[in-house]
Amino acid sequence: MRPYLSLLLVLALTAGSGALAGVLGSRWQAPPDTLDAAARLDRLPATFGEWELIDEMPFEESAAVILECARSSNRSYRHRESGETVHMAIFVGPPGPTSVHTPEICYSSQGFHLASSGQRRKYRPTASEAAPADAANARSPSVATANGPGGAANHEFRKTVFLPDVRRPLKLIVYYGWCSGRLWQAPEQPRFSFGGLPYLYKIQLAAQVVTRLDQEDADPCDEFLGDFLPALAHSGFYSPSESQ
């Protein structure tokens, strides 16, 4: 009898953990809000500050399948004065696959190797963006500590830097974060932090910078986000029905 009990226990644990992962990743859950969330990608601003949209490309089909994304936008912006270009990919889908694929893995197979990872960059929402704390995001302990002066929650992104495998005076700066309400966040364990949500946005910014001696390198992604986040709030991208 005991061998059967052990077997049943193992089967139950396997099935239970699979079911839990499925629930957290919205594997069987109908996505009632996802269509609306996907439609909001139409509201991404084309121009803001000195940045203007210069190119829009289809998202790589194989990546879209892996990420199970409901919709995506893959575009490039150029700064009118400096000529700097920032590539932005933003997509929405179930939180499971959306939260697990990070650029640390992707770019390491595309002619680059990781130089630094995990640096967090925070952006305080402007007064017009400010709203009460987002209930969904508040589930994440790391998000809960991401408050700026005065207690207002900040947008938070993770910054990684890649160097080309071949010898070139270049570096690739990549920012990424997730959003399920009105705040972009970059928790340590996104799969657990965002598990159970109906959908999740992910944004990934990338810019290539020429390195010149020890001159302080420009960070076009940082400049971009400084202008983009307020413009995104004003564009109506965030759903008014969401608490933030």
Partner: protein, 377 residues
């Protein structure tokens, strides 16, 4: 009484055996020595901790790079003198190219810590400026006519340029960087492709025409060009999606990788078509310097005759006489190096000892045989 005919026959036999013995011994010696001659190794010269050479002139007299103090340096291999070239008023500089007249190009910071391309000639460093609307620039190579190539920021992003004293800085529109130029003014470099990748190009500075070098659309880059117009660089393979060193000499040749690595890049080529570069594993920062010569890619570290403690990582450039400059580690610390072909033929001790033993044994045997036949009692 001695049988004359018999004695003559034995003498003939012994002479024949002596000749045979001599042939065997000579062949043994040649075989013994050949491996050393065929693999004529390299003598390594330590250019110092933290000193990074970037280029060597075609005739091999000048080596340039960046020293441990963060300044461009010029090393004269004939006089064995090294010169700190200073800066444009800022903290640092870096030399990337040198011609046979000792003119040096690179990039240097000014007092405002802005970096621009420089030309060092007749003891003076001058800024070459930038393309219109640009803030910074850098020079990568110079030919004997004094034409300089590099990259510069501009009002529409970063572009490659060709500079000469008459026309100043000319924009090669639609490109990223020019990395090499030969005596005929042919230029190779990278132009942007698919966001963060590039495609190798060749540009004729006389006719101002440019074309892509690699026919397919993979990631590639041109690094150097020799007097014949042969170009080396790297390109993505459609079969394994890794980057591999290439040689373009009228047709495209994938040079492959060193054993144990899945990727490579060619960084320099000389007039004889010898290629140097580095082989590595994609996504990892482990590199081994190679030389490609006679259709074979060889790990340079294995070719050192005095290389104890050395691991050669990158071979950046090769002179027409085969001197190589690059970067490696010595006892785990980064050092620059200069390799010179080892002209001496030194047989390996083990092989020489074996040959000596064999020769002694055969001589004894032959002497015993001749003695026995001469005294058949």
């Amino acid at each position: 009484m001695t049988d004359y005919r018999l004695t003559t026959r034995y003498v003939a036999i012994s002479r024949c055996r002596s000749l045979w013995l001599c042939c065997v011994l000579a062949a043994g010696f040649v075989i013994c020595v050949l491996p050393a001659a065929a693999n004529a190794g390299f003598i390594i010269t330590d250019l110092g901790q933290g000193n990074t050479p970037a280029a060597i002139s075609a005739l091999g007299q000048y080596v340039v790079g960046q020293n441990a103090a963060g300044h461009a340096f010029l090393y004269d291999t004939l006089s064995n003198q090294t010169q700190d070239l200073g800066t444009l008023g800022g903290a640092s500089s870096q030399a990337n190219g040198v011609n046979d007249s000792g003119q040096v190009v690179g990039q240097a910071a000014n007092a405002s810590n802005v970096t621009t391309a420089f030309l060092y000639s007749n003891g003076t460093m001058q800024s070459l400026g930038t393309l219109p609307g640009g803030g910074s620039s850098g020079a990568n190579a110079i030919n004997d006519a004094g034409q300089v190539v590099g990259s510069s920021d501009s009002s529409h992003g970063t572009d490659a340029f060709v500079y000469d004293s008459v026309n100043k800085m000319i924009d090669i529109t639609g490109t990223d960087a020019a990395n090499g130029i030969n005596a005929s003014g042919l230029v190779t470099g990278d132009e942007p492709y698919n966001n963060f990748n590039s495609i190798a190009f060749i540009y004729d500075s006389a006719t101002k025409t440019k074309q892509n070098l690699i026919p397919d659309d993979g990631y590639s880059g041109g690094n150097a060009i020799n007097a014949s117009g042969d170009i080396v660089g790297f390109s993505e393979s459609a079969s394994d999606y890794h980057l591999h060193a290439f040689l373009y000499n009228g047709s495209y040749n994938n040079l492959g990788d060193l054993p144990g690595y899945d990727s490579s890049a060619a960084l320099g080529i000389n007039a004889s078509g010898q290629v140097v570069g580095d082989s590595y594993n994609a996504g990892q920062n482990d590199h081994s310097a190679f030389i490609y010569s006679g259709g074979v890619m060889t790990d340079l570290t294995s070719q050192l005759d005095n290389g104890a403690g050395w691991s050669l990582k990158y071979a950046y450039a090769i002179s027409d006489s085969g001197q190589i400059v690059g970067e490696g580690t010595y006892n785990g610390v980064e050092h620059g190096f200069l390799l010179t072909a080892d002209a001496t033929v030194t047989p390996e001790p083990g092989s020489l000892a074996l040959w000596g033993l064999a020769a002694a044994g055969m001589t004894l045997r032959a002497a015993f045989y001749i003695g026995t036949k001469n005294n058949p009692a």
